[in-house]
Symmetry: C2
Subunit: 107 residues, 2 copies
């Protein structure tokens, strides 16, 4: 369930957001965007959770891959819907992952 | 509810995790760690959400601040409890935030 990312360096797009009360079609669009992102060159993985706020983190090989994904035509349309209807507030942070540590419990 | 972070560059610690079935004391410890982190030098903000997985992102001024927080005695004890009891799997990614974009809906 956690993204299996390669040895750093690579990039993370941390998308933190608060939704409006308008949720028609949001879940379907969000699922579609994850599927579409997964098909893009340079995509490395995705993690997401929502309670009071939503945090979605997508992982990418490099800044060029992120730029191409941002400019994807279908993604652009979804971003417009997001601004019009679904998001009350969002912050997108583009960050270079420098180190990674992990732990898996042995049964 | 989203972290008010300064103009980049700054650092993000992306802590993605899956819990075990052992949850005794977890919520209290997690709340305590957020409060304690907030008092550390270089702390800039915190965002968190949990569904199937938990994602907590803390923001820091620099790598030195992150190193000091990791080494904090009370935090070290919490990390030990986490490994012993609460976490089935976690990945900690340390990333340098290079760019930030935001949107707030005008009412």
């Amino acid at each position: 369930m956690l993204a299996k990312t390669p040895k750093p360096p690579y990039y993370a797009v941390i998308f933190s957001n608060v939704l409006t009360a308008v949720d028609g079609g949001y879940a379907e669009m969000a699922d579609r965007m994850v599927a579409l992102a997964s098909d893009q060159p340079g995509f490395l993985g995705f993690e997401s959770a929502r309670e009071e706020i939503g945090i979605s983190v997508s992982y990418w090989k490099d800044l060029e891959s992120i730029k191409n994904w941002k400019a994807n035509t279908e993604h652009q349309a979804a971003q417009q819907y997001g601004i019009q209807d679904w998001y009350a507030h969002y912050i997108t942070r583009i960050a270079k992952v420098e180190r990674e540590y992990s732990f898996i419990k042995e049964d």
